[in-house]
């Protein structure tokens, strides 16, 4: 447990990270650094977009599984690692030196 807390904190405090969110397959928020409203809106989007991304990947290889999912703009970056039951989402603001 403490190790999870530690990793969570480390990711959260990494330079540029705006927030971290963990949800389960139904979209229920398990752990979040965002407020409830933001968390839920992220959660809804993830739930919505994940099956599509998965299908996109499956066009080419049927039995492949989506394991990392990233949306990136010039300054913003959202990373999602989906699993069988959970999603870990990190919102990252790209910092420029």
């Amino acid at each position: 447990m403490s190790e999870i807390e530690e990793s969570f904190k480390r990711i959260q405090t990494h330079k540029g990270v705006v927030g971290v969110l963990i949800i389960n397959r139904n979209g229920s928020v398990i752990k979040s650094t965002f407020d409830q409203e933001t968390s839920v809106s992220y959660s809804k989007m993830v739930i919505d977009i994940f099956p599509k991304a998965d299908q996109l990947l499956k066009i080419n290889s049927d039995n492949d599984e989506l394991s990392f999912f990233r949306v990136r703009s010039k300054d913003n970056d959202i990373m999602i690692t989906p699993d069988k039951d959970f999603f870990l989402l990190v919102v990252n603001k790209i910092h420029k030196e």
């Binding site: 480390r10 229920s28 928020v29 809804k44 690692t81 959970f86 990252n92």
Partner: protein, 670 residues
């Protein structure tokens, strides 16, 4: 504007058409029965499309007249046209979901057009029609102008498809903009489906009820094993991605700005990161570093016991990833005794082998827990002195682990079974003689030069692809070349020149157009690093620019004339023999304490330096990783010069054989 005009025109035409229809109806009423089959097939299908629609009753009336008209003209070539056009347009009209009045008007206009224009069907027209059906009015026009009975079904289908797609996009638009407006009651089937889809989308967007968990449920999930394993896995992935972002900008645009990035002129190593861990490396010193043969970014390092004392085990081996400088090692492995040497097994990328101070050899598996999966017995069967050096030799199918210890024993092990060595051989100092395992025990002799005394080996190195021939560095300050023949070990050459215990031996990696594989360097506590040829017993050159013990010296794996050393004063020194023989070309104070171990990555682009403060310093050595082919020839010249010099002058530092022997004697006398 156009449409208005067209509508007016159509109205006129319509009236004409009605008249004509009435005429034809009356004339050919009797031919109805014969021709019903086809039109009825087509017309139900069209009525199916808008199934259960609220299309105005007028449409139904129209149908009657259509059928009638079709029936009467069946024998003539124009009749199919009419039928097809009629039915399709009905579909379009009804499916477009325009208001009832509009639909009605459209339908009527078709009749006019059909009857007026009598164009033989063309295949291509079908495409035009389908592509234009989106636009109601033009669709009606083109539809009326073409198609025959054969194509009747297909265009119809196309129509539907087209519409389906169209409605899909509109529905999505609706969904994204605002809540879809209430569909008008006059809407037909397709629009109904469109609203259904809109509803679906709405659900996705807004109406999905996300179950909320209370604190207790959340805690339950957080404590579950499934969650833990998920989080351990994915947090690593995320962190890698995060750290990768720091070092690599995937969106870098080289067409922009050119002001930054001025390259520093002087060649040097750049300190990139320091790998250390509060719990596992503090108060410990680095004893060994080795890169993974499979994953170029993975590195394994071993540490001595905690000087400050702790409840953690004495033996610590950490696996680091240098791509993303985690503040945390990827894996932590433990054992009871301090680990003196460690590496990834060449043929088993998940296995990590460690040699401990107690003489025990342990194997960890990255797939298993932090405790060893295998260990050798702590008895005289194995080693009883610290294991400072080991090597895996052989091929992927037949390999063994060779370990050597200061108890003068060489053991071969099967990596699958460490319970008992495959063979044990006593090392003996006598040149060209050997004794097999059982006899002399571990007799640690104080006399160095006496024949028959055993050798305390501090470093062992096998040339690449070599099974029996190897080089050892000893506590006595002698480097030996030895070969195994069955259960015997024959000492072939003894390279004398160092006045203190050898701390490292490294063979030239030699992967270029000139073969330097006969050259090797050794470091010693006598404050020197020496360059040797395997064909000469005396050193070729001695590098003396040190004021402390030299703990390690390693050739660059890619650059022929470059090697790096670490010494007791905490200095990392980089020598380029093509540039300077007297002093290193680059020096960096890595630590307040001593630098214990160095390790180049396989591509020569990274150099890891381990110190006795427990930190690994990662240096970027990219500037030394791409030597030109000239460097090889140049180095050949340098070596030739050194060899001829060492012949001509009997420098006491380089040592001829005689002075060397004297020195050895004097040491042993003390």
């Amino acid at each position: 504007m156009d449409t208005e005009a067209m509508k007016n025109q159509r109205k006129k035409e319509l009236e004409e058409m009605k008249k004509r229809l009435a005429e034809i109806k009356e004339k050919n009423k009797n031919s109805k029965a014969a021709a019903t089959t086809k039109p009825t097939i087509s017309s139900p299908s069209t009525t199916d499309a808008p199934a259960g629609t609220s299309s105005p009753p007028t449409t139904g009336m129209d149908f009657d007249s259509f059928i009638d008209s079709v029936n009467q003209i069946v024998p003539t070539p124009t009749s199919p046209t009419t039928a097809a056009a009629d039915s399709t347009t009905t579909t379009t009209a009804s499916t477009t979901g325009s208001t009832g009045a509009g639909g009605y008007r459209a339908v009527l206009s078709i009749h006019t057009m059909v009857s007026e224009i009598d164009i033989p069907p063309k295949e291509t027209i079908m495409y035009t029609k389908t592509s234009q059906t989106v636009d109601l009015d033009s669709a009606v026009n083109t539809a009326s102008s073409g198609t025959n009975e054969d194509h009747h079904q297909t265009p119809n289908k196309n129509n539907k498809n087209k519409y389906h797609m169209h409605t899909l996009t509109t529905s999505q638009e609706n969904a994204t903009s605002t809540n879809n407006t209430e569909s008008p009651p006059t809407n037909t089937a397709t629009t109904n489906t469109s609203t259904e889809q809109t509803d679906d989308n709405d659900k996705d967007q807004d109406d999905v009820v996300i179950p909320e968990l209370d604190d207790f449920e959340k805690q339950n999930i957080l404590d579950s094993d499934a969650f833990k394993s998920f989080f351990t896995k994915s947090s690593k992935v995320i962190e890698r991605a995060l750290y990768l972002d720091d070092s690599v900008d995937i969106l870098v645009d080289y067409t922009l700005s050119d002001d930054s990035k001025s390259k520093s002129s002087g060649k040097e190593l750049k300190l990139v990161a320091t790998l250390a861990d509060e719990r596992w490396t503090k108060h410990r010193s680095v004893t060994d570093i080795n890169w993974s043969p499979k994953h170029p970014e993975l590195v394994v390092s071993s540490y001595s016991a905690n000087e400050a004392g702790s409840h953690d085990p004495d033996g610590v081996v950490l696996v680091w990833s240098v791509n993303n400088y985690f503040q945390k090692p990827e894996y932590v492995f433990n054992c009871q005794s301090p680990v003196m040497t460690t590496f990834f097994s060449k043929f088993h990328p998940t296995l990590i082998v460690g040699g401990t101070y107690s003489g025990q050899i342990v194997i960890w598996d990255t797939r298993a827990k932090s405790t060893p999966v295998q260990r050798t017995p702590l008895s005289s069967v194995g080693h009883t002195h610290p294991v400072y050096s080991m090597a895996v030799v052989g091929s992927a199918n037949a390999n063994s682990l060779v370990s050597i210890s200061t108890d003068a024993k060489l053991c071969s092990w099967n990596l699958e079974n460490l319970l008992q060595p495959i063979e044990t051989i006593e090392l003996n100092n006598t040149k060209n003689t050997s004794s097999s395992g059982t006899g002399s025990g571990t007799g640690a002799s104080s006399s160095v030069s006496g024949a028959g005394s055993s050798i305390a080996v501090t470093s062992l190195i096998f040339p690449e692809n070599e099974l029996s021939q190897f080089y050892i560095g000893t506590e006595e300050g002698v480097v030996c070349q030895a070969s195994r023949h069955g259960s015997k070990i024959v000492m072939n050459e003894r390279y004398k020149g160092h006045f203190g215990p050898i701390t490292s031996v490294d063979l030239h990696p030699s992967k270029g157009n000139v073969d330097f594989s006969q050259y090797f360097i050794s470091s010693s506590t006598d404050w020197t690093v020496k360059l040797w040829s395997t064909k000469k017993e005396a050193p070729i050159y001695s590098f003396e620019d040190y004021v402390d013990y030299v703990y390690d010296a390693r050739w660059s794996p890619v650059h022929p004339s470059v090697f790096a050393t670490g010494d007791g004063s905490g200095l990392l020194s980089l020598w380029d023999l093509n540039q300077d023989l007297e002093s290193p070309i680059f020096r960096h104070k890595v630590s307040q304490r001593s630098v214990n171990r160095l390790s180049w990555s396989h591509d020569g682009k990274k150099l890891l330096v381990g110190d006795s403060g427990g930190s690994l310093s990662l240096f970027d050595s990219t500037e030394f990783s791409s030597p030109t082919s000239e460097e090889w020839n140049q180095f050949e010249d340098v070596i030739d010069k050194m060899v001829s010099k060492s012949h001509s002058q009997d420098s006491p530092l380089l040592g001829s054989n005689e002075t060397d022997g004297m020195a050895n004697l004097s040491i042993s006398d003390q």
